[in-house]
Amino acid sequence: MKLITAIIKPFKLDDIKSALQAYGITGMTVSEASGFGRQRGHTEVYRGAEYTVDLVPKVRLEVLVDSQEAEAVIDLIVKAASTGSIGDGKVWSTPVDQVVRVRTGERGSDAI
């Protein structure tokens, strides 16, 4: 199993949600996040001289999937999140040892 984490532009959330639902993914965790990558936040010239580097608001999306589905889901997210401009975000996956559904006690793939 894999945990896929995506940092995306906030307005892309609805597109990604629809794409994942169409693929058959039924659950995800979404949280508000802030950060910067190569984009370095907003760089502004303030009163002619000063520089400010802000953290940019992003959305963090987490999805648990079976290992064999991971690549397909990553591709799906990347496609839906892309605008082609700087600051589109990142997607990565991490291996997951165990998953348990709290209500039923199901484990592994059954709990996804």
Binding site: P10, F11, L13, S34, D54, P57, G87
Partner: protein, 753 residues
Amino acid sequence: MGTRERRERSDEADRALAAAFSSLVTTLHKSESSISLAAVGGYGRGELAPGSDLDLLIVHDGSLGTEKLSEFVNAFLYPLWSGPRLIDHSVRTRSETRETAQADIKVAMGLLDIRFIAGNADLLEGVSNDAQEDWRRNFNKNFPALVKSVQERAARSGELAFLLEPDLKESRGGLRDINAIRAISRVGLVPVALERLASAEALLANVRDALHTVTRRNRDQLLLTEQDKVARELEIVDADVLMLEVAKAARAVDYVMDLTIHRIENTKKKSLFRKKSNLAISEGIEVENEEVSLISGSGAFSDPTFGLRAAAAAAQRGLPLSVDACLELAQNFQPLNNPWPRQAREDLVSLLGAGAAMIRVWEALDQEGIIEKWIPEWSHVRFLPQRNVLHRHTVDRHMLETAVRATHLLRTVHRPDLLLVAAAFHDIGKGFVDLDHSEYGEILIKPLALRMGFPEIDADTLALLVRHHLLLSSVATRRDLDDPQTIASVTSLVNDPATLELLHALSIADGEATGRTAWSDWKARLVADLVKRCLSAMSGFTPPAQMQLTPEQELRCQEGVLWTNITKQENTYEIEIISPDQVGLLAMVAGVLSISRMDVRSARTRSHGDFAVMKWIISLDVNAEPPTNPKLQELLKRAFTGDIDLSSHIDERIRNYRKFPGIPVAPPIARASNDFATNATVLEVRMHDRPGVLYAVAKAVTRFGVDIRAAIVATLGAEAFDTLYLTDLSGNALSEERTVLLANQVENLLLTQ
């Protein structure tokens, strides 16, 4: 579900406990003379909800010895602990009970409902008599602690009438408050309107019973997820109707609590022969014993704007409007004309702009139905629940909370009055099935704004703000801010910076009032980014236009003498002054008006050659005499020649003003820019209004060595907004450096005054 069932549960518990207690007494001691069992609190009243604890008191006469007593208590309680109900017990002698009650008001109140279950009845009667007698005797001493506990509970658990997930027991207006009122009524010090509580108590108790039944737990918080089930259990149509009924019941409890506390405090004040500290603050209105009351028999009652004036006066001083004042206003209610007079509108804005102090005043008026009479649209949103996990409050309270949050943002907008009114009514369209609340709100707000006396253009702005109050949040989080189309979609709806800044402030206030789940720093940053991008796509602000002179005014300027003309309007005076221009003229005239106890509502001034033309709208302070031309001219002449020390007179007026309590307000701000006018620097000052504001601003500007070419002064509710057109002595705009310096100096001066 009802009193009978609660009684039956209590009786059933009594029978089981009495049997267990008596058999144990017989087994262990063969005598019931040294010990007895009693119920206290709600169980003591013989009312038991399905999940309630059993509050028990075991009273002994001290003759058993620690070991035997402990053996007995353990033998009695062990089987109960494994039973279906939680047990809350204490074991004391009569004197220990008395001491504990004296030290803890909660114990004292619980003992008022003590009821014998088994054992030695005489022993218990002694405890009961002590409790009643001590409660009465110590009431004066205990009363402040009782009031404090009521207030602390409200602060901790919120208000039952306005929370979407209230605690039926702990929230303000809940079951615990009913017990407190009943405890107060036992003293017989003041009449307590218990009859107003009967149906409220029955409803709240039934709802709690149903909640316990559906959750199978002893939980008193009515969560959104349980409300439908509870409504079904009680055979009420749906959760909305249930919550409306709960809110009404809570308001009744609230009202009786306020009235009772108020009556007791009044009795105490009278009995102490305290010197009354009455301070008149406006015609017919005075501050008496830390609350605003109305002077009986005052002619002001015939003035339809009196109620709003009193409400604004109370809220702006952070004081409550007395219960008697609300009753008197309801009894002597005079409908406002359509459209409202300017004074009424300004008082409404002052009331809304008073921050947290406004809510108490508003609620007091609402309890007497006065708000609905002024604003009939309010009826529909009163106590209106909203099934939305993001919200915490009913619709009416949410709008008031939004207005409170908006007071922190008043300096960020050019029209604080529109911000406050939009905040207080932005969800007025809620609660109509099948209608989008923003769209319907737009339809409702425009006629309301026109009735309040706002000009058409302002009513349109308010309609736009209500229609689009969710626009910025939804666009900022769901659309690509880098896309010019996104920005264009906002600027096509909101096309001027002044409206956009209002919408921005309204979004923040609305979000903050809704709760953490609806508004975070994350969202605030996205919205601010969107606003910044939209502003840069707009053309910029335009300051208010300078006054245009009439031919008559130009003619008078040629006459070369000081001329004044005073015209009485409804609640204000219009004063026109044409005077030879001189350095510091605006400060001097503003100073003369201030020491004559006239409060500047608005003004427009303009230099014309060697003359200045000024048009002032002023209202009179409660102690002021009506102005006359000869008196005003005499004062002006003396001020021009330096015969009056304006500063010390004004300082004295400010000192007198500060004798009244106030409310926390945002600090003043001053901004200056050369971008808005040709050959002039425009200085904008925004601050909370108080006597002598314009005098201080004009004096600071004069001291800076610049000419005031024109001034536009506005008072919007309790906010003063002054715009000055300035030039240096050679008639040009100031240098960039001096512009910044001037704004800083004026701001610092106003901050330190």
